[in-house]
Every structure is written in C-alpha cells, then in structure tokens.
Amino acid sequence: MDDGEKIDRRTFIEKAGFYSFWLTLAASVAGVVKFLMPDVFDEPSTSFRLGKPEEFTKDGGTRLEDKNLMIFKDPEGLYAISAICTHLGCIVGETPAGFACPCHGSRFDKQGIVAGGPAPRNLPWFKIYLSPEGYLMVDTAATVTIGEKFKI
C-alpha cells in the first residue's frame, strides 16, 4: 500500500470488520474492569480522634483494637505504630522482643523495624497532630519517619 497499491473492497471490509471486533472486545474488557472497580470506596475516614492531650499523662502503650493501631507514650512524646503486618495484613501481637505476626512469622522490634521473617517493610508510624478543636488526631493515611514522636 506504500506504493499506492490499492486494496480491494472485500479485503478492506474484512480487515475493518476484524479490527472493529478486536477494538470492541478490548473496550468491553476495559469496561468490565472499570465496572469492577468502584469509583468511591465506602470506607471510614483515615483520621480520627485520640482524645485530649491532658488524657495522656502516663507513659506506656495502649492498643486501639478497632483501628488496629498501637499508641505509645514515653518522656519524648507520643507515637502511633500500625499493628497491621506489612507482609500479608495479619495483626501483630506483642512479644518480649517487639511484635510478631501469627500467620507467617514476621518479626519486628519495639520500633516496628523488621527483625526477621518475610515482611517487606517496617511497621509504619502514623502522623499525630493537634486538631483546631484541641484534640489529638491520628491520620493512618500519613506516615512519619520512625522515631519521630509528637511532643505533647
């Protein structure tokens, strides 16, 4: 065709038909994939209240069970470590050495840094901030570097 060669009508229609078929098929598959992916996820907000700063006087740790989050306080400040194993999403439990996953044996130290097992990443530390109303807030969509504590 580069030489100005003509294709006959039958070949043209045949090719046009085939290309249309594949194009339609591809578009349909894309449509199905898009259909399977909701535009909006009906999920709770990633940030929530911890409480008033004056409630956090004692040093130590607590676990927010429904958020799968661990809050610790020491003299340097407050920090929140995710309890969701970075391997396959099980909830880590506490051990003398730090944290351990009950499903596949990932190990983390007290800072949440991987110490053994298959986990590919450290347990994330989430951002803690003060809301305009004066509440301590955690945002599980925002991480901070390990060791960064929130001074109360």
Partner: protein, 518 residues
C-alpha cells in the same frame, strides 16, 4: 353408534391407561430396558443425553479398577454432590457480613438435616481437592498426558486451579475467623506484586498489586463488598466456568480415543493387515461410534478386546458414585465441618492456619509473599501445563511409571526431594534466613534468594541432571513431577504439624505455649 363400539372405546381407554407406565418408559428410552442385544446396548448409550459422553464400547483395559482407580469419576461425582448440597445451602445462607455467620449457625443448629448438608458440602470439597490431586498423579504416572491428550492435560491443570479457587471462595463464606483472615491474606497475596514493584522502585507510577487487590475485594479492607464478590465467584462464576471445563474435559476423553491404554495389545497390529480374511461382524453397527484416531476407520476390522459400555462402565460408575456418597455421608455423620469464632478484624487466631491443601503454600509464603504466593504457584502451573509439550516421547503410554527405569527415577527423585527439602527447612528453622542475619537487607535480595527460590533451584538442578543422565524427557518429567509431589507433601506436613503460634517451629502441638494477645 352401537353399544359394542362404545364398549370397545372404553376398553381401549382402560387398556391404554394400564399401559401408561410401560408406554412412558418406551417413550423415554427408545429401546428396551434393560437392553438385550449388543445393538440395543450401544443405542442405550448413544441415544441418551446423559450417557452419550461415553463411547459405546471401551477397551477392557480401562475398566480394570487398578488402572484408573476411579479417581476421575470421583472428581465428577464429588463435584455433583457439591453442586446439589451447595444449591440447598443457598436457601438459608445470607451473603452479608452481619448475617453470614448467623445463617451458617442457623443451618447447623436450627435446620433439620442442615448440619449434615453443610458437613457433606465441606468434606466433599476437601475430598475433591485430594482426589483431583491424586487423579493428576495417576494421569501423569501412567503417561496419559501424551499426544493426542496434551490439550486435555492442560484443561486438567485449569480444573485443578478452579477446584482450589472454588474451595478458597467457599470457606470464606461463613465469615468466621478462618474466612476473614483468609480473605485478608488472599487479597494481600494478590497485592504482593507491590513487593516487587517496591523493590525495583516503580510503585509510584505503576501499582498492579494494589489494582488486583482492590478488584478482588472491592476496596482496601475486607468488608461487605469483599464478601459479596467472593459469594458471586463461589456460587455463580466459578461453578459455570468449571462446569464448562469439566464438560470439555470429559468430551475430549472420548474424542482423544478414550482413556489411555498400553499399545502392546494386538488391537492394531494383527488385523489391519488387508490380507486378513477375517470377516467383520456385520451386526455391529455401533462400530462407527467407537472410531479411534488412526489412519482409517477400523470398523469391525480389529481383533476385539472391547467390552460394551452398558453394563460394564455404567456399573463401575455406579459403584464409584455409591462409594463417594457413602464415604461423604459417613464422614459427615461422625465429623462436623469446622466453624471458628465470628470474624474479628482486630485479632487473628494464633497461629492462623489455612485448610491443609494451602498449608504448603502458607509455608512458602512465610519466606516471601510474592515468591511464595505468586511466583512459585505460577511456575508450578506453567510447568505442569508444559509437561506434554516438552515430553513428546510416545512410548509407554498407559504404563505405570514407564516401567522399571521410571520407578527408579521416582525413588531417587523422591529421596533427593525429601532430603534436600528437610535439610533446607531445618537450616532455615535453626539459623533463620538473610533477614535474621542482616536486618537491613533490601527486599529485592529477599525476593531473589529465599528458601522458596532455593527450592526451585534445587529442583531445576535435579531435573536437568536426570535429563542429562538418561537423555529422556519422559524420565526428566517424572523426576520433576515427583519433586512437585514430594515438595507439596513435605511443605504441607511442615505447615500443618510443625508450625505453632507466631509460625514458630514445634515438634508437637502439645508443646505450643499458651500465647494470647489482648
């Protein structure tokens, strides 16, 4: 009209009315029941919708119970049992996170016979996974995947995957602890491609792992969208797909020349000779229905080692069906299907274990999510599918282990697989792995070098060693397949019996510490 005519009409009515059961039977079957002549026996098979997947005659070799062990039939019958009990369970099951668990308990405790039905459904699922695996071993070790049956072997591998998918989606539905954490882990395995994209640093631009995970569970965390998706997969999508594949699988058996059998019988050698004056039996019109792949139709032209499907095959099938039904009923009377506590998103069980057929995989996943959950399964499925295309040696079809040479390869491979795996796993348990020695080691190194990838390497090494030693692709395939079987068995044993809380090593479950997290 005269009175006698009226009387005649009445007696005709009465006569026909009395004959209704017989006329109905004749209308239903189109031949005498039971069929008497050979011709009628053939007609009984090919004129019946449900029976016509059979050839009208089969080689007497394939009805020997010691050849097929009835395993393929068991797969079909267990699937049928699963279909029937599954539909029954749908009457009470509620696919909602707030109702699923209660509805399963309802079936167990408040529905007459409910516990029995749910037990049969669960044990048949376990049985089907086991029997599908055994059936695959039978087909492999008798060399039955060879041409012209390569395509059907591939369909078989697809059926194995679909069986596992159906089992997985099934035990998610009660929404108990097992279900919730299996969903979480399954979704994250789908998402573990991110482990790879993270390691090479492209996740920011291209994150297929996250896309897969969100597609499967309809969100970022397990919830109602996930349950309804798995329900849809379990009761609509996968059953339809697997039914189609089972249909093709069975149909291909007949079209590929029936079940495999050794070629050493005299079927072709003796009688295809044109000088043979032996006259074919003209009555055997069913001969056309038993066309076998070959050069010319062999109708009535071979020494006959076949037996009619009716009654030989049908009786065998009936026996296997009754066996399946009896085994499942007995199991279900004495053992209850497991049901754990209601799903609790904040505490998994410790240890959180999958059903037995996934525990080998769980052991692999505990080395690396991507390698154990995606790479090794993909290599396994691909390797299984490629077997008949790499091994083109057509001798020894229908012979267990291809004879004594094969038996020796099986034994040596089993020993090699067993000892290399035990040493590797013992080493891992005793000394840990890279991450325990160098905590900062990059993930890409873990993905490349972990016990799972070492296993693949060890197995590949052995495969090529046997290939070089024997020069036979069939024997090399036997080596590789045996390693797959041994690997599955050893890893399953380790995952089932040697892993305790926090996935740590224990010789016995009685040594488990009573760890409880609050």
């Amino acid at each position: 009209m005269s009175t006698s005519d009226k009387k005649g009409a009445a007696s005709v009515f009465i006569e026909n009315f009395k004959r209704i059961p017989f006329s109905f039977r004749d209308a239903f079957s189109r031949h005498d029941i039971p069929p008497e002549s050979e011709r009628e026996k053939a007609a009984a098979v090919f004129s019946n919708f449900f029976l016509h997947l059979h050839p009208t005659r089969v080689s007497s070799h394939v009805v020997k119970p010691t050849y097929t062990l009835g395993l393929g039939l068991m797969c079909v019958f267990l699937f049928l049992i699963l279909g029937v009990t599954g539909v029954v369970l749908m009457i009470y099951y509620i696919p909602h996170v707030d109702g699923a668990y209660a509805s399963v308990k309802n079936i167990r405790y408040a529905v007459t016979g409910g516990k029995f039905v749910i037990n049969v459904h669960r044990w048949s699922a376990h049985g089907m996974v086991l029997v599908v695996l055994l059936h695959m071993m039978r087909v492999f070790y008798t060399g039955s995947y060879k041409a012209p049956r390569e395509f059907n072997w591939m369909i078989g591998v697809v059926l194995l995957s679909l069986t596992l998918a159906l089992s997985f989606t099934g035990y998610l539905l009660p929404y108990d602890q097992l279900a919730y954490w299996a969903m979480t882990i399954g979704a994250n395995i789908a998402g573990s491609l991110t482990e790879l994209t993270d390691a090479i640093g492209v996740t920011k631009f291209f994150d297929p792992g996250k896309l897969q995970k969100q597609l499967i569970i309809g969100g970022n965390t397990i919830g109602e969208p996930s349950l309804i998706r798995f329900y849809f997969l379990h009761v609509i999508f996968l059953p339809i797909v697997i039914s189609i594949f089972i249909g093709v699988h069975l149909w291909r058996i007949t079209k590929d020349g029936g079940l495999s059998k050794p070629l050493d019988n005299k079927q072709f050698t003796e009688s295809v000779n044109p000088d043979d004056e032996k006259s074919p039996n003209p009555d055997k019109t069913y001969g056309l229905m038993s066309l076998i792949r070959g050069n010319t139709p062999q109708v009535g032209n071979y020494s006959d080692d076949t037996v009619p499907t009716w009654p030989n095959v049908l009786l065998a099938e009936g026996a296997v069906f009754i066996f399946c039904l009896a085994a499942m009923s007995l199991l279900s009377l004495f053992f209850d299907a497991p049901l754990k506590e209601l799903a609790n998103p904040s505490v998994p069980e410790n240890p959180a274990k999958a059903p037995w057929y996934f525990l080998g995989l769980q052991e692999l996943v505990s080395y690396s999510a991507f390698v154990g959950g995606i790479l090794v399964p993909s290599i396994t499925v691909l390797g299984l599918m490629l077997i008949p295309f790499l091994d083109r040696e057509l001798h020894d079809v229908g012979v267990w282990f291809s004879g004594s040479k094969g038996i020796s390869v099986v034994k040596r491979s089993a020993a090699y697989g067993f000892f290399s795996l035990v040493v590797l796993i013992a080493f891992t348990i005793k000394f840990g792995w890279l991450r325990s020695w160098f905590p900062g080691v990059p993930q890409i190194v873990i993905i490349a070098i972990n016990p799972a990838t070492v296993i693949i390497g060890l197995f590949a090494l052995w495969y090529f060693k046997i290939l070089k030693e024997t020069g036979s692709m069939r024997l090399a395939s036997i080596a590789a397949f045996t390693l797959f079987v041994i690997g599955f068995a050893v890893l399953t044993y380790v995952g089932t019996f040697l892993r305790g809380p926090n996935w740590e090593f224990f010789w016995l479950q009685s040594q488990w510490p009573g760890i409880h997290f609050d």
